[in-house]
Structure formats: structure tokens, C-alpha cells
């Protein structure tokens, strides 16, 4: 069988990559995509723990289900906001959205 740590390490890698994406990217859409990667890692974690460690309650699985749902909603909402910004400012680049600072 596959040891639990393999999944967890994969999840950690995925999460870190997502984090990197959020930090390094300039496009709002790309940042959003990176966040999705992080959420994927979370889902993997939840399911892994559920199936390995607490199958009798499998809260993890349910949790993962909710994470995916929320993530989808999040994408929809975020894209609407990005679109709004783009309409007003003709950019989806987060670096350029800095009229408010200091």
C-alpha cells in the first residue's frame, strides 16, 4: 500500500507551489489559479487523513467536498471582481492596482 506520508508530502509540495504562485505572479487570474492549487493540496490532505486515520467519521471527505464547493464559488466571485477591475482600469494586473497604499 501507499504510505500516508506520500500523499501528505505531495500535498505539501502542491501547497508550496501554490503559495509560490500567489507570491510570484502578477496577474490576478494566475494568483487565483495558484490559490486553487493550494486548495487542491488541502483537499488531498483531508481525504488522506479521512481514509487513513479516521474512516469511521470521514469528516475529512466531507470537508474536502465543501472545500471544492467553496473553491468553485470563490473562483466565480473572484473572477467577477477581477472583471470589474478590468472594466474600470483595463488591467488585471495586481501590481497596477495600487492606488491605495501607505
Amino acid at each position: 500500500m501507499i504510505p500516508i506520508n506520500d500523499f501528505l508530502v505531495l500535498s505539501a509540495i502542491l501547497f508550496s507551489l501554490g503559495m509560490y504562485g500567489v507570491l510570484a505572479r502578477r496577474s490576478a487570474v494566475l494568483i487565483l489559479m495558484s490559490v486553487e492549487l493550494m486548495l487542491q493540496a488541502v483537499s488531498i490532505n483531508f481525504i488522506t487523513f479521512a481514509v487513513y486515520l479516521s474512516p469511521e467519521q470521514f469528516t475529512g471527505v466531507i470537508f474536502a467536498l465543501f472545500v471544492i464547493t467553496v473553491a468553485a464559488a470563490e473562483v466565480g466571485l473572484a473572477l467577477a471582481i477581477i472583471l470589474r477591475l478590468y472594466r474600470n482600469k483595463q488591467t488585471a494586473n495586481v501590481d497596477e492596482a495600487d492606488i491605495m497604499k501607505w
Binding site: M1, I2, P3, N5, D6, F7, L8, V9, L10, A12, I13, L14, F15, S16, L17, G18, M19, Y20, L23, A24, R25, R26, S27, V29, L30, M33, E36, L37, Q40, I44, I47, T48, V51, Y52, L53, S54, P55, F58, V61, I62, A64, L65, F66, I68, T69, V70, A72, A73, V75, G76, L79, A80, I81, I82, L83, Y86, R87, A92, N93, D95
Partner: protein, 165 residues
């Protein structure tokens, strides 16, 4: 190495490659495509975890809805496809931070002795999930529906073009 492990490593590799593609690709559309790859691979991981239902959900919601939404958004926002427009000046620091986090989290995960049987995957049936979802977890389920409504209403209110725009 059992064949299961073999498959796992393969799928995991695809996942990671996809993820790398998402965060590294210079072309934003490529990133989106990599994302699809990665998402699908994660669905594969779910299957390896015996959570087929979630894999399906994953494919449907992510592979379908989300990615299409993202591609739409890309087209609507006509992102300039220069590398400079894609990556920020913060890349080196970002890489360091992400690496540090990765090291920390992997270390933490590996050095933890998980309580319970860490070798055996337990199958959780769809029946169980469905039952739990509508009884035990009814409240979060309903709140989640509110979340979706909010997102929906919000997206409409915000994205909708107004008179005179």
C-alpha cells in the same frame, strides 16, 4: 514498489508538473492548461485514495466549470502576454518563502507519527457520504448553499454591465 505506488508516483508527478506549469509558465493560457492537467491528476489521486465520488466532483467542478470560467475570464480580460506582465519582481523571495514552507511542512509531516494505521486505505462509500451530508452535516451543507448564493448574487451584481457603461 507495488503497482499502486507506481501509479501514485506517476499521478503525483503529473500533479506536480501541472502545478509547476501553473506557477512557472510564461504564457497565461499555458498556465490555465497546466492547471487543468494538475486538477485532473489530483482527481486521480482521489481515486487512489478510494474517494471516487470526490474524484468525480473534482473533474466536474474543476475540470469543467472552474477552468472554463478561468479561460473565459482570461479572454475577457485580454491579459497582455509578456513575461513581465506575468511574473512580479518578488519571484526570488517568493521562491525562498515557498521553499522554506515546503521544507517545514514536509519535515513536519514526515516527522509526525500519525495516530492510527498509516498503511491502510479505508473505503468510504458514497452511501455513507450522502447520508452524512444530509444528516450530520446538514447545517454546513445549508450554509454552503448560502455561500454559493452569495457568490452567485455577488458575481451578478458586480459583473453585470450597468446602464451607461
Amino acid at each position: 514498489m507495488t503497482y499502486e505506488e507506481g501509479i501514485f508516483y506517476l499521478v503525483a508527478a503529473i500533479t506536480v508538473i501541472g502545478a509547476l506549469g501553473v506557477v512557472l509558465a510564461r504564457n497565461i493560457v499555458h498556465s490555465a492548461l497546466f492547471l487543468i492537467l494538475s486538477l485532473l491528476a489530483v482527481a486521480g489521486i482521489f481515486i487512489l485514495l478510494a474517494a471516487e465520488f470526490l474524484a468525480i466532483v473534482q473533474v466536474l467542478i474543476y475540470g469543467g466549470a472552474v477552468t472554463i470560467l478561468i479561460l473565459f475570464a482570461m479572454m475577457l480580460t485580454r491579459v497582455r502576454e509578456t513575461p513581465a506582465a506575468v511574473d512580479g519582481p518578488q519571484r526570488p523571495v517568493a521562491a525562498l518563502a515557498a521553499a522554506a514552507f515546503m521544507a517545514t511542512s514536509i519535515l513536519a509531516v514526515v516527522s509526525t507519527e500519525w495516530p492510527g494505521n498509516t498503511e491502510k486505505i479505508n473505503v468510504i462509500s458514497l452511501d455513507q457520504i450522502g447520508r452524512a451530508l444530509f444528516t450530520t452535516w446538514a447545517v454546513p451543507f445549508e450554509i454552503a448553499s448560502l455561500v454559493l448564493i452569495v457568490a452567485l448574487v455577488g458575481a451578478i451584481v458586480l459583473a453585470r454591465g450597468e446602464e451607461g457603461e
